[in-house]
C-alpha cells in the first residue's frame, strides 16, 4: 500500500539546513495498522506529511496505492489525497460553520454535489462512530471526543484505502482516546483499511499491528505488536 524508497526530506539551506528524514525505507502492506513513534523532532510529522501527499520528498520515491506521488501536479495530488486518503488530525480541524453531517460530507461536496446516497452514507458513518443522534450539531456543541469521531467519519466518507492519523488521541482524555483507537482498529479489521497513526504515546501505539520508531530522521525500530484479545483498550493520551 505504501512504499518509501530512500526517502529524504530537508528544509532550508546552508547553516539553517535541517535533515528531517534521512534515506528512509518503509513498506506498509494493505490492511495494516502501523503506529509511527518517536520523540519531538524525530521526523514523525514530516513522514506523515509525505505519506499524505501534503509535501514532496527532497530525494527518494514514495509510492502510495501504486501511484508515484512525485509524478503528480498539485491538482492531481489534491484529487489523489481526496479520493485515496482519509486524514485525522490532533486538533480535529472541523469547520465550525458546518454541522456534524456536513463536516462528514465535506470531501464529498468537494468532489461533487452530495446525493441522497451520500447523505445516507454520512449518516450511517456517524451512527457507526456513535454520533447518530448528533448529526445536526455544530462543532461548538460537541465534546473533544465527539469532534474526533466526526473527523474519523469525515476521513471515511469517500471510502479511502488509507487512513492517516496525526496524534488522534493527543487532545483527548484517556477513556475517549481509547474509544477512538478502538474505532481505528475496527476500521482496519472490519474494512481492511490501512491505518498509519503518528503518536508519541507508547500505549496508543500498541493499538497498531506494527510500531515504527523514528529518531533524528531515521527509522530506528520496527516491531510487530502482539496483542491479547482486546487491543489497547486502556490506552491513554
Amino acid at each position: 500500500m505504501i512504499n518509501l524508497q530512500s526517502v529524504s526530506k530537508t528544509y532550508g539551506e546552508g547553516p539553517t539546513r535541517v535533515e528531517a528524514l534521512r534515506s528512509v525505507d518503509l513498506h506498509i502492506a494493505a490492511g495494516q495498522f502501523v503506529s509511527i513513534m518517536g520523540p519531538s523532532g524525530s521526523g514523525k510529522s514530516t513522514l506523515l506529511n509525505l505519506v499524505s501527499a501534503l509535501d514532496l520528498p527532497s530525494a527518494g520515491k514514495i509510492i502510495i496505492a501504486g501511484q508515484d506521488v512525485a509524478t503528480l501536479d498539485d491538482d492531481a495530488l489534491t484529487l489523489f489525497r481526496r479520493r485515496s486518503i482519509g486524514l485525522v488530525f490532533q486538533f480535529f480541524n472541523l469547520l465550525p460553520t458546518l454541522d456534524a453531517l456536513d463536516n462528514v460530507l465535506l470531501p464529498v461536496m468537494l468532489e461533487r454535489k452530495a446525493t441522497q446516497a451520500d447523505h445516507a452514507r454520512a449518516q450511517q458513518l456517524l451512527i457507526e462512530v456513535g454520533l447518530g443522534a448528533r448529526t445536526l450539531h455544530r462543532m461548538h456543541q460537541l465534546s473533544g471526543g465527539e469532534m474526533q469521531r466526526v473527523a474519523i467519519a469525515r476521513a471515511l466518507v469517500l471510502e479511502p484505502r488509507l487512513i492517516l492519523a496525526d496524534e488522534p488521541t493527543g487532545n483527548l482524555d484517556s477513556v475517549t482516546g481509547g474509544a477512538i483507537l478502538a474505532l481505528l482498529r475496527a476500521l482496519c479489521e472490519n474494512h481492511g483499511t490501512t491505518v498509519v497513526m503518528v503518536t508519541h504515546d507508547r500505549n496508543a501505539a500498541q493499538a497498531g499491528d506494527r510500531i515504527v520508531s523514528l529518531r533524528d530522521g531515521c527509522i530506528v525500530g520496527d516491531e510487530r505488536v502482539t496483542r491479547a484479545a482486546e487491543p489497547a483498550a486502556g490506552a491513554s493520551a
Binding site: 499524505s52 501534503l54 469547520l95 468532489e111
Partner: protein, 891 residues
C-alpha cells in the same frame, strides 16, 4: 507578469516609505513610553502587513486627494473668471451693465453726464469662435473698447507698441470693421504675424479680420487665459451685428468722491434693472450662478473622504482583532487601557499623516486632470471661461491635510477603544479555529442609533434652507449614510440567512463556505460592506437624480420643442458656446422647399433681482401652434395670447426661486432702461437651472433691440424629405455660417451628451469612492485569509483544489459586494429622494418626478459586485498558494 512585478515593487516602495515615516515618529517619541511601544509593538505589525498598510494609506490619500482637487478646481475656475473681470476692469470704480443683449449706447451720454463721474468708457464684450483649422474650437475673449478715447486709456493699459502707433494715426485702423489687435500669447500659439488674417465666426458667417497689432501678456493681455483680442467698439458692433448696443460702461469717480453715492445717482438715472456695481460685485453674481455645480462637487468629494475614513476604521478594526492576543499580553504585562487606546490611535494618526501628505500631492495632480472636464461643463452650461492655471495656496493644502489627519485619527479611535476594553484574560484566550459568532437576536445599541439617525434625517428635511443652502437636507443625507452603516451588520446577517438555504442546494461547497464565513467576523465584514455601501449610495442617488432629470428633460423636449431640424452656429446646441446668427437667414429658410414653419429662438443671459437668469425669445405663434406646453399656472392658449401682447412666461424654477406667479408684474432691464412685464403663466422649462423667462420674439426685438437668432427651428411639411432639407440648408449656408443642422433625434442626443459631460466629473468622484471601498475589500479578505490559514489548510488537506480555494475567497468578495450593493442601493434611493426633492429643488427650483435610471443602478450594482470579486482575486491567490503542511501547523 511585468505589471504585477511593477505593482508589487510600487507597493513595496510605498510600504517602505510609510514604515520609514512611522519609524522616524517612533524615534522622535522614544523618550515617551508610547514611542517605545510604537517601535516595539506597532512597527513589526505594520511591517508584517505591508500590503494592508499601503492600501490603507492609499485609501486615505485618495479621499484627501479628491477633496483637495475639487476645492482647487472650484477655486481655479472662479479665480480665473475673477481675474479676467479684474484684468479687464482695470481702474474702474463702478461698472454699469444690463441684460445679456446689452443696452443702447445712447445711454452712455446720460451716464457720462452724472455729476461726480470722472471718466467713463463704453465696452462690448463677448467670446468669439476662431475658425482656424490649426485650432478647431478655439475661443477667445473679444473686447470692443473706445481705443481712441482718452477715458479708456485711463482704465486700461494695453501694453502694445502697435496700438500706440495706431493712436498716433488712427484713421486707417478705424476705416474697416474688421481690424483687430490680438494678444501676443494667442499669436505665438497659432503663429500669427502682423496683418495676417484671423478667421472668426460672426452672425453673418465666417469673416477674416486683419491683425493690426499685439498686446503683451499683462493686464488685458492675460485675461481669459491669454486668449484675448481687442477691437474698436463701433467696428465690433458692425462686425458682430450688435447694432448700437454696448454691454457695459466702465466708470471712475472724481477723486475724493463717494463712489457709492455716485453709483446711486447713476442707478437713479438708468432705472432699477441696471446693475451699477463695483467690479468685484460681479464676481459674487458669477459665484452664485455656479453654486449648484460647486456644491455637487464638494458633496461628492466629501463622500470620497468619508469612504476613506471607513477604510481606515476597517483597517484598524482588523488590526485590533488580529492583535487581540498581543494586546492581551501587553495588558497582562502592565500596559494600561489608556495606553493601548493611545497606541492604536497613534498608529491611525501616523497612517493618516502619511496618507494625507500623499493625498495633498495626488490632489494637485488630480485637480489638473479634473480642471479640463469641469471647465468644459461650466462652458457648456453657464458661461465661457478659460482656465489655464491651478489656483491654490498653502492654507488650502494644509487644511486638506489636517482634515485627512483628523478624520484618520477619529476613525481609529473607536477600534482603539474597543481593543482596550476586554480584560487581559479574555484577550489571551486562544482559538484552534475561529469560533462562529452567533447573530444577536435582540436589538443592539447600533440598531437603535441607526433608527434614531433615520428619524433625525426625516426631521432634518423639514429644516428650511440656511443662506440659500439646503443644509438640513445635506445633513439628512449624512444621517442616512451613517444610519445605513450602523445597520450593515443586520444586512450581512440577513443576506447570509437568506442565501443559506439556496447555497445548501446549489453553487457548490465553495459558495456555501464563503457565505458561512460572512458573519464570522461581523464587524469586519460590515465595515468593509459599509464603505462599499457609501460608494454605491453615492452612485445610486446620482442615478436617481440624473435619471429623473434626463427623463423629464427628454419629455419636455418632445412636448415643447418638437421641431424637425435645429440650426445653430458654432456649437451643436444653442447656449454659451454658440454664435448667434443673422436674422437675414430667416427668409431663405422659410423659402426652402419642404419647410412649413420656422421658429426663431434667441437665448440671452439677463438678471432678475440681481440673480442671473435666461431670457428666451421665440416666435410665439409657431411655438403655440406646435408645442404642447406643460402649464403649471395659466392656460396655454390664453398665455400665448398675452405673450403676443407683451407679457412674459416664467419657468417653474424661476417661479419657485423668486416667488413669482401668474398675474404678477416683474421689472426687467431692456435696451433703454427698465420695463414692467405681466406674468402670463408658469410653465415647465428646462432651458436653464437659473430660471427662464419666455417672451415673444417681436416683443424681444422691440424692447431689447436685438434681432439675432441662436437657433432656427424648422418644422417640415408632411411628407417632406428630412435629409433632403438638411442637405439643402447645409449646402447653401453651412460652410459660410459654420452651421450645425441637427435632426430632432440628434438634438436630443446632443442634450444627453451635454448632460453626460456635465456629470462626468461626478462619475469620477463616484469611481474614486468605489476604488477606496474596493481597497477595503482587498484589506478585509487578506485579513480573512490570514485568520483562516489553518482552516484553508484543512480544506486543502481533505481535498480542496487550489481553484476551489480561489473560488471560495472570490465568492466571499462578491458576497461582501452584494451586502454593500443591497445597503447602498436602498440608502442611495433614499439619498436620491433627498437630492431630488430637497437639495435640487432649493438650488435649481426644478421639480422632477422620481424616475431613477434603474439600468444605471443595476449596472453599478453588477459592476461593484464584480469588482469586489475581482478585488478578492489577490487574497484568493494567496489562499490557494498556502503550503498545506505549513498551514495546518499555523497558530
Amino acid at each position: 507578469m511585468n505589471t504585477r512585478r511593477l505593482l508589487r515593487a510600487a507597493g513595496g516602495v510605498a510600504a517602505s516609505v510609510v514604515l520609514s515615516f512611522v519609524y522616524l515618529a517612533a524615534l522622535l517619541l522614544t523618550p515617551f513610553r508610547l514611542g517605545r511601544l510604537l517601535r516595539t509593538v506597532s512597527i513589526p505589525r505594520l511591517q508584517e502587513h505591508r500590503l494592508r498598510t499601503s492600501l490603507t494609506v492609499l485609501g486615505i490619500a485618495l479621499g484627501v486627494a479628491v477633496l483637495i482637487a475639487v476645492v482647487i478646481v472650484n477655486r481655479s475656475i472662479l479665480g480665473s473668471m475673477f481675474a479676467t473681470v479684474d484684468d479687464i476692469a482695470g481702474k474702474a470704480d463702478l461698472q454699469v451693465s444690463a441684460s445679456g443683449s446689452g443696452f443702447d449706447e445712447a445711454l452712455f451720454d446720460q451716464v457720462r453726464g452724472v455729476p461726480g463721474v470722472y471718466k467713463a468708457t463704453p465696452v462690448l464684450q463677448q467670446t468669439a469662435l476662431l475658425r482656424d483649422p490649426r485650432a478647431p474650437g478655439e475661443r477667445m475673449l473679444l473686447l470692443g473698447v473706445d481705443l481712441l478715447g482718452e477715458d479708456d486709456e485711463y482704465f486700461r493699459a494695453y501694453a502694445s507698441t502697435e496700438l500706440d502707433a495706431i493712436k498716433r494715426d488712427p484713421l486707417a485702423f478705424l476705416n474697416s470693421p474688421s481690424n483687430i489687435i490680438i494678444s501676443r500669447s494667442l499669436a505665438n500659439k497659432l503663429g500669427y504675424k502682423l496683418h495676417d488674417k484671423l478667421p472668426l465666426a460672426t452672425p453673418d458667417g465666417v469673416k477674416d479680420f486683419d491683425i493690426w497689432g499685439f498686446i503683451e501678456n499683462e493686464g488685458v493681455g492675460r485675461a481669459f487665459g491669454g486668449s484675448v483680442a481687442v477691437m474698436y467698439y463701433a467696428a465690433m458692433q458692425v462686425a458682430f451685428g450688435r447694432g448700437h448696443a454696448i454691454d457695459r460702461i466702465d466708470l471712475a469717480v472724481q477723486r475724493g468722491a463717494d463712489a457709492q453715492a455716485i453709483g446711486q445717482r447713476v442707478q437713479a438715472t438708468l432705472g432699477k434693472s441696471f446693475h451699477v456695481e463695483r467690479p468685484d460685485r460681479k464676481n459674487e453674481r458669477v459665484a452664485k450662478m455656479l453654486v449648484g455645480l460647486r456644491t455637487g462637487l464638494m458633496m461628492g468629494s466629501v463622500i470620497a473622504l468619508l469612504v476613506g475614513v471607513f477604510l481606515i476604521h476597517n483597517t484598524m478594526s482588523i488590526s485590533v482583532v488580529q492583535r487581540k492576543r498581543e494586546i492581551g499580553i501587553l495588558r497582562a504585562l502592565g500596559i494600561t487601557r489608556r495606553e493601548v487606546t493611545r497606541l492604536i490611535t497613534l498608529e491611525g494618526f501616523l497612517l493618516g499623516l502619511v496618507g494625507s501628505g500623499l493625498g495633498v500631492l495626488i490632489g494637485v495632480g488630480l485637480a489638473r486632470v479634473m480642471l479640463a472636464g469641469v471647465s468644459q461643463s461650466v462652458n457648456e452650461l453657464y458661461l465661457q471661461v478659460s482656465v489655464t492655471t491651478l489656483r491654490f495656496d498653502g492654507a488650502l493644502l494644509l487644511g486638506g491635510f489636517l482634515l485627512g489627519v483628523v478624520a484618520a485619527t477619529l476613525a481609529s479611535a473607536f477600534p482603539a477603544r474597543n481593543a482596550a476594553r476586554p480584560s487581559p484574560v479574555e484577550t489571551l484566550r486562544t482559538f484552534a479555529l475561529m469560533t462562529v459568532v452567533a447573530p444577536p437576536a435582540r436589538l443592539t445599541r447600533n440598531d437603535l442609533l441607526a433608527v434614531a439617525l433615520f428619524a433625525l434625517a426625516f426631521g432634518l428635511l423639514r429644516v428650511p434652507p440656511l443662506w440659500g443652502a439646503p443644509v438640513g437636507a445635506m445633513a439628512a443625507s449624512a444621517g442616512l449614510l451613517f444610519g445605513g452603516a450602523l445597520l450593515m451588520p443586520r444586512v450581512v446577517q440577513g443576506l447570509h440567512a437568506s442565501l443559506t438555504p439556496l447555497l445548501r442546494r446549489s453553487f457548490g461547497l465553495e459558495a456555501r463556505l464563503a457565505n458561512d464565513n460572512l458573519p464570522r467576523d461581523l464587524g469586519r465584514t460590515a465595515a468593509t460592506a459599509s464603505a462599499l455601501m457609501v460608494g454605491v449610495a453615492m452612485a445610486t442617488s446620482f442615478a436617481v437624480f440624473v435619471g429623473s432629470l434626463t427623463t423629464s428633460m427628454l419629455e419636455w423636449i418632445d412636448r415643447s420643442i418638437p421641431a424637425d431640424l435645429f440650426i445653430t452656429s458654432a456649437a451643436r446646441v444653442a447656449g454659451t458656446r454658440s454664435v448667434p446668427m443673422s436674422a437675414a437667414l430667416y427668409d431663405p429658410l422659410v423659402a426652402t422647399p419642404g419647410v412649413e414653419l420656422v421658429e426663431r429662438v434667441r437665448i440671452i443671459d439677463t438678471d432678475y433681482r440681481n440673480v442671473p437668469v435666461k431670457l428666451l425669445a421665440a416666435d410665439i405663434d409657431v411655438y403655440n401652434q406646435r408645442a404642447k406646453v406643460t402649464m403649471l399656472e395659466g392656460e396655454q392658449g390664453a398665455a400665448m395670447q398675452q405673450l403676443r401682447n407683451g407679457a412674459v412666461m416664467v419657468s417653474e424654477n424661476f417661479s419657485r426661486r423668486f416667488g413669482v406667479h401668474q398675474g404678477d408684474r416683474i421689472q426687467l432691464s431692456v435696451k433703454d432702461g427698465t420695463r414692467e412685464f405681466e406674468v402670463a403663466g408658469v410653465d415647465i422649462d428646462y432651458t436653464s437651472d437659473q430660471g427662464t423667462l419666455l417672451v415673444d420674439r417681436e416683443v424681444y426685438v422691440r424692447y431689447w433691440g436685438d434681432d439675432q437668432v441662436d437657433t432656427y427651428e424648422l418644422y417640415l411639411r408632411k411628407g417632406a424629405d428630412l435629409e433632403a432639407v438638411r442637405r439643402s440648408v447645409t449646402r447653401q449656408y453651412g460652410e459660410s455660417y459654420g452651421l450645425f443642422v441637427l435632426t430632432n433625434r440628434e438634438f436630443k442626443a446632443e442634450i444627453l451628451s451635454m448632460l453626460e459631460q456635465a456629470f462626468a466629473v461626478m462619475h469620477v468622484l463616484e469611481l474614486v469612492a468605489l476604488i477606496i471601498a474596493v481597497l477595503g475589500v482587498v484589506n478585509s479578505l487578506f485579513a480573512s485569509v490570514i485568520d483562516r490559514v489553518r482552516e484553508i489548510g484543512v480544506l486543502r488537506a481533505v481535498g480542496m483544489q487550489r481553484k476551489q480555494a480561489r473560488k471560495m475567497i472570490i465568492v466571499e468578495g462578491a458576497l461582501i459586494g452584494v451586502c454593500g450593493v443591497s445597503g447602498g442601493t436602498l440608502i442611495g434611493a433614499a439619498c436620491g429622494y433627498v437630492l431630488l426633492f430637497h437639495i435640487n429643488l432649493v438650488q435649481s427650483g426644478w421639480y422632477f418626478p422620481y424616475r431613477p435610471n434603474w439600468l444605471s443602478v443595476f449596472e453599478t450594482a453588477v459592476m461593484v459586485v464584480l469588482v469586489a470579486a475581482l478585488a478578492a482575486a489577490y487574497p484568493a491567490r494567496r489562499a490557494a498558494a498556502l503550503v498545506v503542511a505549513d498551514a495546518l501547523e499555523y497558530e
